[in-house]
């Protein structure tokens, strides 16, 4: 890994040397702030995000042949080939620290936009500060639906939120029911954070609307030392589908506890998060054959769009992991933001905001299975279609919606 990183650095130095002096003289730097948890319980996500952003940076700053905005040529042509520089800051999952870091990045590091933040609670305060300083905030991977409904002008989210994800799950259930599969009862299992609560509420609401019966709705404490009592309740309820909204730590514990207590549901349809993390499958993948998770990204897309595979290889060289649901959204978030800055031809916050609002990128110029990227007046992209993926034979295959699917769902899971 160190060798590759050194190669990248050498490469960057070499390209910098080749740029004609005249061109370099007029280019300025475009600085973007990246706020993530780099220490504490979710440090892993922060470190992975850092690699995803560095991959996007390579695509933007170096010449490549991908059919992505800004891939061709070096830097941002709209700003005379200016290079993008990222400044990373640590929010330690604390809204106050996120806020302070956002303010520091804006006033001291002079960033022209901020991207982040993994935790939704931190996104709340970071986006407020951005609003006050009129600096755009791109919420790359926060999935709480409440975030874009606060009437902020400088808030943008290209990825789906949990209500869109949950709706896709229920679309899938409806389709399965038509084929004769019995799906009547559901067990919800979600953590007590913003993410878990939002997800649980969205699922309960849609289930009510579409006539599914929720037999248990368990809210548990995140990072619990034990989930035995909770799993016992799930087992007793024995619903047709178990729908967990959990991060990696609790996901691993949930699956292990289920195996220990001999609970084997017909199907698990997970709200991403932990269920798209490599760590979870390394730990308990053997017990998860046939698990279904929602997502925004699928490596299957590489069959139709070869660049997805190549970009994934670039990321893998840095991080040793495949793109997952989070890192792919982070990569895409920075590309979309940089594209807007390029079109704004300015690093002025208001101009970038207007350019972001005018964004219209067709789906096939992204690495996602989305229709396109276009923000509504609240800064939400409603054309980001979620997909459902099933874990089969050690990897994920897309099973829903039909236009993106490459396989039929295996139901019940093994």
């Amino acid at each position: 890994m160190t060798i590759t990183r050194r190669d990248v650095l050498l490469g960057a130095a070499a390209t910098a040397a080749l740029v004609p002096l005249a061109a370099r003289a007029q280019t300025s730097e475009v600085v973007i702030g990246v706020i993530y948890p780099f220490s504490g319980g979710s440090a892993q996500q922060g470190v992975d995000a850092q690699k995803a952003y560095e991959t996007a940076l390579e695509v933007i700053n170096k010449d490549s042949a991908f059919d992505l905005p800004l891939a061709k040529g070096e830097g941002l042509p709209g700003l005379g080939g200016a290079k993008v520089r990222l400044v990373f800051a640590d929010h330690q999952a604390d809204p106050q620290k996120g806020r302070a870091e956002a303010e520091r990045l804006i006033t001291q590091e002079k960033v022209c936009a901020i991207i982040g933040t993994y935790q939704s609670a931190v996104a709340v305060t970071v986006s407020q500060i951005c609003e006050r300083y009129q600096v755009p905030f791109v919420s790359a991977d926060n999935s709480s639906p409440s975030l874009h409904r606060r009437g902020l002008k400088y808030y943008f989210r290209a990825a789906p939120h949990d209500e869109m994800y949950s709706a896709a799950m229920f679309d899938f259930f409806d389709a399965m029911k038509k084929k004769g599969t019995k799906i009547d009862t559901l067990s919800l299992f979600h953590e007590d954070t913003i993410f878990g609560t939002d997800s649980g509420n969205a699922q309960a609401k849609i289930a009510g609307e579409r006539g599914y019966k929720i037999v248990t709705d368990i809210k548990y404490r995140a990072n619990s030392p034990s989930l035995s009592a909770e799993v016992q309740q799930l087992k007793t309820a024995n619903a047709d589908v178990l729908m967990p909204s959990s991060y990696t730590t609790d996901g691993i514990l949930l699956v292990k506890t289920m195996a220990e207590l001999g609970y084997k549901p017909n199907a698990i349809v997970a709200q991403d998060a932990g269920f798209s993390e490599k760590a979870l499958y390394d730990a308990v993948g053997d017990k998860l054959e046939g698990v279904i998770s929602r997502g925004t990204f699928s490596l299957d897309l590489a069959q139709k769009r070869p660049m997805v595979g190549k970009i994934n290889d670039m990321f893998k060289a840095k991080s040793g992991k495949d793109f997952n649901d989070l890192t792919s959204r982070q990569f895409m978030g920075l590309i979309i933001l940089a594209d807007a800055i390029n079109r704004a031809k300015s690093i002025d916050g208001e101009k970038i905001r207007d350019a972001l609002a005018a964004t219209d990128i067709p789906g096939d110029q992204t690495i996602m299975p989305w229709k396109r990227v276009k923000f509504d007046e609240m800064g939400q992209n409603n054309d980001a279609d979620p997909v459902l993926l099933q874990y089969v034979g050690g990897k994920f295959v897309t099973i829903f919606p039909p236009q993106a699917a490459i396989a039929e769902a295996i139901w019940p899971m093994k």
């Binding site: 800051a89 330690q92 106050q96 520091r104 006033t107 609670a121 305060t125 913003i194 878990g196 609560t197």
Partner: protein, 327 residues
């Protein structure tokens, strides 16, 4: 009364007034919002730690659960404001009163506990508060409360970009906490507490009076911390259970006092003045690395200071003849 003691108290008051004046003038020279942010946090933690010190330092009842009062202050203020439109200034008072009452209610059974049993009970009670707020739908549960910002307003104590009002409020809180401590040092309570610390058995004879004075200390301490909590909520303009009632606040209130000198008048201020800028700077410098270096630096410093200077940094400054009086 001993002459030295009176002279020292007068000198302390003059020094404090001078320091407050210098602090009040700093915004004239410091325009950078990041530095201002650090100053605000430093003053706030100095005030909080000063309040914590009243109960834990002077009374010797080591509490690692003050986050409960901090969170109660923040939540009372913001629930009153967002649900009933009560201005934060009144909410702040209400939060303080609620916290003080709860502190007294808890004090009744808690003060019978000794040593580790007491410390663990305080941690546990704050943890219960955190879990209850985490599950209380009406109070926003995990979603927390976002304080709607509609522009600068003294009435609603909210400001878009300027930090000066927050700065002066934090300074006022810090001064208030200091002054209360200063005043208590020389009160009847202060004498009892010193007596209890020097000789617990002899103090038993004072019995009820000492118990009441501890209740008083708990109430004053909780009130001030709650005011700090509601200030924090206004300052950050978003609260959720984890970010105002988490265990880290209990520690951050205790640490400055311990580093500076527990049970002393100047310890908390000195400790906060060193600790808070240090934590912020280590995070700026190393936090983005994702390798935990900031934690290593921070932890090592705590270990070294608490081992090398058990009486706190203040002991570096004290001359032998004064230590007698401080005790």
């Amino acid at each position: 009364m001993d002459k030295d003691f009176t002279a020292r108290r007068r000198r302390d008051l003059i020094i404090a007034a001078l320091l407050a004046l210098i602090a009040a003038l700093t915004p004239l020279f410091v325009k950078d919002v990041v530095v201002q942010n650090i100053l605000i946090l430093t003053l706030m933690y100095a005030g909080l730690s000063q309040s914590w010190n009243i109960l834990s330092g002077y009374c010797g009842q080591i509490s690692l659960g003050h986050a409960l009062y901090f969170g109660l202050g923040a939540y009372t203020t913001e629930l009153l404001f967002t649900k009933f439109g009560v201005l934060p200034w009144f909410g702040m008072l209400a939060g303080g009163v609620v916290s003080a009452l709860i502190a007294m209610g808890l004090g009744y059974p808690f003060f019978r506990l000794r040593g580790h049993y007491f410390v663990i009970a305080t941690i546990v009670i704050a943890e219960i508060g955190l879990l209850l707020f985490h599950n209380w739908e009406w109070a926003g549960a995990a979603m927390g409360i976002t304080i709607p910002i509609r522009g600068d307003s003294w009435l609603k104590f909210q400001f878009l970009r300027t930090k000066l009002p927050y700065f002066y409020f934090a300074l006022a809180l810090c001064c208030l906490a200091w002054f209360v401590t200063w005043w208590l040092e020389n009160s009847k309570w202060g004498f009892w507490w010193r007596a209890v610390k020097d000789n617990p058995e002899a103090a038993e004879s004072l019995g009820v009076d000492v118990f009441n004075s501890k209740m008083g200390a708990a109430a004053v301490s909780a009130f001030l911390v709650a005011v700090g909590g509601s200030f924090y909520a206004q300052f950050v303009s978003y609260i959720d259970p984890e970010s105002v009632m988490g265990f880290q606040f209990s520690l951050l209130m205790a640490l400055p006092a311990v580093l500076g000198g527990i049970g002393t008048l100047w310890g908390p201020v000195l400790g906060a003045a060193i600790l808070i800028p240090l934590t912020e700077l280590t995070r700026f410098k190393f936090g983005g690395s994702g390798r935990g270096i900031d934690l290593i630096v921070y932890g090592t410093l705590i270990v070294l200071i608490s081992l090398a200077l058990p009486r706190g940094l203040l002991s570096l400054f004290s001359r032998p003849k004064r230590t007698g009086a401080v005790r």
